[in-house]
Symmetry: C2
């Protein structure tokens, strides 16, 4: 499959490489005759420009990276879908990186492995520490997603986790619930995400004069519905009682619903349940799920905007966009 090069097209058309290049890149100043001639040659030879060579020559890769822990998690899947669409519409390709549960992998994202491969990175860190983040910041523009502190000089986009946590807890309190469990934070090594949600949760309880019972903080050893089901199940079996469950995310909520159902506990009658992320399936669970709705569109768009500015050469201080959120009220914790 001898590849056809710009050179070959030039010869075939009897013009210079520059002219072919001009045609390929839709340069304005090419005579119509020449243009059609060149186009004919391109067609005849089946020429396709080599993206790699172009990259090397221009220095722009036209590629962005999205790094999340695991795209099989519905929230990240929806985020990836959204970012991918946006990237395409703005003329970028999208490289997908999964960091799993490994801090190493998160570091590698920042170090960029081999650099020069992408113009910028949209990165939702899960486990890496703040100072690590700061240390590994490289020349490649980065926008941080999710929550947690960010090193100075780095752009971030996130919803106000603490406020959202407070709101959805208040929603539970308005329902008259007083023994509210928190489900799904990490048993060891609390993530920034969990920390913020917990903090809003506790603040709301305190403000309402409700008790914050440490026994009601049900940690899990994984971010998964299975782990949540297990944790909630074990708690119930040990005799623990509560009338509401604030779940760290929709997946934990799904596991919680499952644990409750298997034990004949009615939702929302006996226990009201809330999730976080408002992924599609929350509208199809049984019961449907009350959950925090982040404005994913706004989030994705902001991230792309900030990143494009950095790619475009912006060198200023870190910007911090707070994306809007709302509470999607459904059956698992209806309106009062």
């Amino acid at each position: 499959m001898a590849r056809v090069r710009l050179q070959d097209v030039a010869e075939h058309a009897g013009v210079s490489m520059k002219t072919v290049s001009n045609v390929v890149n839709d340069y304005p100043h090419v005579s119509p005759t020449t243009r059609s001639q060149v186009l004919a040659s391109i067609e005849a030879l089946g020429y396709r420009p080599n993206a790699t060579a172009r990259r090397l020559a221009t220095g722009r890769t036209g590629t962005l990276a999205l790094a999340v822990s695991d795209v099989s998690l519905p929230y990240f899947a929806e985020l990836a879908s959204s970012i991918s669409r946006l990237a395409t519409s703005r003329g970028y390709r999208l490289l997908l990186e999964q960091t799993g549960e490994s801090v190493e992998a998160e570091r590698a994202v920042l170090l960029g492995g081999e650099s020069g491969l992408v113009d910028g990175i949209i990165f939702q860190p899960s486990h890496i520490a703040l100072d690590d983040l700061a240390r590994y910041t490289t020349a490649t523009p980065v926008v941080l997603l999710g929550e947690g502190d960010a090193p100075e000089g780095v752009d971030t986009v996130m919803i106000d986790n603490t406020a959202a946590a407070r709101e959805i807890t208040e929603h539970l309190l308005h329902l008259g619930r007083r023994r509210v469990a928190f489900v799904g934070h990490e048993a060891h090594g609390l993530s920034a995400t969990s920390r913020q949600r917990l903090s809003g949760f506790e603040a709301a309880l305190r403000d309402a004069g409700a008790q914050v019972d440490p026994a009601l903080l049900l940690a899990t050893d994984a971010i998964s519905p299975e782990a949540a089901e297990h944790a909630v199940g074990a708690a119930l079996d040990s005799g623990l009682r509560f009338d509401a469950a604030f779940c760290r995310d929709d997946l934990a909520a799904l596991g919680t619903l499952s644990a409750l159902r298997r034990r004949g506990v009615r939702v929302p009658d006996d226990v009201a349940v809330t999730g976080w992320d408002d992924v599609t399936l929350t509208r199809f669970s049984n019961p449907t799920l009350t959950t925090v709705h982040p404005d994913l569109d706004h989030l994705a768009r902001s991230a792309m905007d900030l990143l494009e500015e950095r790619v475009g050469g912006y060198r200023g201080p870190g910007r911090h966009v707070v994306a809007p959120h709302s509470i999607s009220v459904r059956e698992s914790a209806p309106s009062a």
Copy 2:
């Protein structure tokens, strides 16, 4: 951020570019002294090899593309996660492409836009026609996923859809169900996927002497739980009755469960429901979902194997791997 080049390292270390290159690429024949010297210089200057330049020089990109319609769909999300992990473990990066509902986009995947960007493509087509597929096959190695016919010479990996459809239909028949609806195929322009599942479905019904009632083929105008909920809801409201629903995929099944629940129809007592794909959430729906379980691991691994052989230069005829499947029996259509 003046980039550090191989050249710079060479000068700093007082050796030639070739030597630095040798060190960077772990070439065997470099004297330990030289090596450590070079490594020191690399460290000192903070050198990172430029991937693009390397690509241009070697011709290998070290990148694979995965093209699916939409990664926010759970099955594709789980597929992408799996393929991404595999790709990483084999030393590739993964470019994510979403084709949405557009045949154009699917063509573009094959044409490769600008080529030379990836070594190979794993592609699950949704809408493109067979002859289109054949016409647009290019120099870039491709492995086709999903179902449907493939042009000669192209590698494919899929489960035996027709057989799986037959099996899960038989499961429903063993439960004594006789009026089985089919939910979720396209109203216009049946996809190859739907066609095969329908054909296995109908074959099983016929073999059992059950009736194939055209009124029970509930098409939807999108591949989504909403669309399925709508279609099933409309059918029920119009007085249509059935005792089982074979859903084209898990999302359609979720929508079906929802429609049934809203109308007080009990699952599985009144209507048994089955899905397809066995995505994570099927274990947490209420009721949990009986569904076709494709061996995703086998599927992903096979696709990678075939692709790597092609990338490695294999030019033989198309291979066709049939990945194993099974039926995951859960509450929505329990064992007889």
